[in-house]
C-alpha cells in the first residue's frame, strides 16, 4: 500500500506500524511515531493497522535550542 512516510510516498508491504518500521530499516532505532497526526506509543505499534494513504511520521532525537 502507499504510505506517506515523513512526507514522502512509499510503497510498503507491511500491514502494521511495527512491520513498516522494520521494512524501512528503522527496527531498533531510537524513534517516536505518529500516525495521521496522532502519537502511537512504542508498545502500540504492533497491531497499529496501516491503511492506504496514511501519513506516518518517524521522529528521532535532533539538536535543538
Amino acid at each position: 500500500m502507499n504510505i506517506q512516510v515523513n512526507g514522502q510516498w512509499r510503497e510498503l508491504a507491511a500491514q502494521d506500524l511495527s512491520a513498516a518500521l522494520e521494512e524501512l530499516g528503522l527496527g531498533g532505532a531510537v524513534i517516536a511515531t505518529a500516525l495521521n497526526g496522532e502519537f502511537v506509543p512504542a508498545g502500540s505499534r504492533q497491531g497499529a493497522r496501516l491503511a492506504d494513504g496514511d501519513r506516518l511520521e518517524v521522529l528521532s532525537p535532533m539538536q535543538g535550542g
Binding site: N6, G7, L24, G25, L26, A29, V30, I31, A32, T33, A34, G37, E38, F39, P41, A42, E57, V58, L59, S60, P61, M62, Q63, G64, G65
Partner: protein, 262 residues
C-alpha cells in the same frame, strides 16, 4: 553532592545555572567540547524526521548520552496546541523524561510565543504528568496563568530567539521577577554575549538558556567557557546585593581629613 547554591527545578538539583542548546554547532565534536566547557548539566534537544538509512538522530543521541547530562526536549516550531501536545508525547517517549520546554510560536518574525495557546497546552500537559518549562514573555498575566496551569518554572525571553539583543525589556523582566519571587525563572532566548547572561543573573533570574550565542561564535568552546564564568559572576553579584544606581556622583574617597592645599 549538590552545592548549597544549586538551582532546583521540579525537585531536581542542577549544579550549573547555565543551560545550553545543542543546535547549529559546526560539528558534533565541537558540540561535545562546548557542553563540557559550559559546565551545563541540562541541555535542550528536539525531534525531527529520521532520514531513512542516515540515522543522524541516533548519532546525536549517543553524543548526549555519553555526556551524561540531563535533556530538556523542546516543542520548537509548533504553532498550535495540538502540535505542541503531540510533540511533547513523542519527546517523552524518545528522551525518557517528563520534562518539556514548551514552545507554541505565535508570530513568525519575532518567534513570539502565543501565550493563549501556551497556557492551554501547559494545562493539558501538566494534567498528563509532564513537568513543563514554558517559553514565555515577560507578561505578568501570562505568567500567572502558566503557574495556575501547573508550571513550576518560567522561561521568559530576553529578546527574540537568535537575535542576540540581550534583555530587551529590562523593566518588564524586573517586574516579573519581583511579582513571583519564589518561582524559578530561566531567561531563554535573545542572549548574545556573556554580559547579557551576567545581567540576567544580577537581576535575580535563576539561570539562562543559551544556544546561538555559543554555537555561532567563532570559537564556540571558548565562548561556552566565557558564558560559564559570566553566569557564575552574575549569580555571585546577585547574592552579594548590588548597589542601587544614583543620579549624582558620590566621592568614594573620604573627604574628611583632606589636606588644605589651596
Amino acid at each position: 553532592m549538590a552545592s548549597p547554591d544549586s538551582l532546583r527545578v521540579y525537585g531536581v538539583e542542577l549544579g550549573s545555572r547555565l543551560l545550553l542548546g545543542t543546535a547549529r554547532y559546526p560539528s558534533p565534536a565541537i558540540l561535545t567540547e562546548a557542553v563540557k566547557a559550559s559546565g551545563a548539566q541540562l541541555v535542550t534537544a528536539s525531534l525531527r524526521r529520521e532520514a531513512g538509512g542516515e540515522r543522524a538522530g541516533q548519532g546525536f543521541w549517543s553524543i548526549i548520552r555519553d555526556l551524561g547530562v540531563r535533556v530538556l526536549p523542546n516543542t520548537a516550531a509548533c504553532h498550535s496546541v495540538k502540535e505542541a501536545v503531540t510533540t511533547a508525547h513523542l519527546a517523552r517517549e524518545v528522551f525518557g523524561t517528563p520534562w518539556v520546554k514548551l514552545e507554541v510560536i505565535g508570530e513568525e518574525d519575532t518567534l513570539q510565543p502565543d501565550l493563549f495557546a501556551l497556557v492551554e497546552a501547559a494545562r493539558i500537559l501538566t494534567r498528563e504528568g509532564f513537568e513543563v518549562f514554558p517559553y514565555t514573555t515577560e507578561d505578568l498575566i501570562g505568567a500567572e496563568r502558566l503557574l495556575e496551569a501547573g508550571c513550576r518554572v518560567l522561561m521568559p525571553w530576553g529578546s527574540p530567539i537568535g537575535s542576540g539583543r540581550g534583555l530587551n525589556n529590562r523593566f518588564g523582566l524586573k517586574a516579573l521577577r519581583a511579582r513571583f519571587p519564589e518561582v524559578p525563572m530561566v531567561i531563554d532566548a535573545g542572549i548574545g554575549v556573556p554580559s547579557h547572561a551576567a545581567q540576567s543573573l544580577e537581576l535575580g533570574f535563576d539561570a539562562v538558556l543559551i544556544n546561538t550565542a555559543v554555537s555561532r561564535a567563532v570559537d564556540p568552546v571558548r565562548m561556552a567557557g566565557a558564558f560559564a564564568r559570566a553566569v557564575a559572576a552574575g549569580r555571585e553579584a546577585y547574592l552579594a546585593g548590588p548597589m542601587e544606581p544614583r543620579d549624582m556622583a558620590v566621592p568614594s574617597t573620604p573627604v574628611i581629613g583632606k589636606a588644605f592645599l589651596g
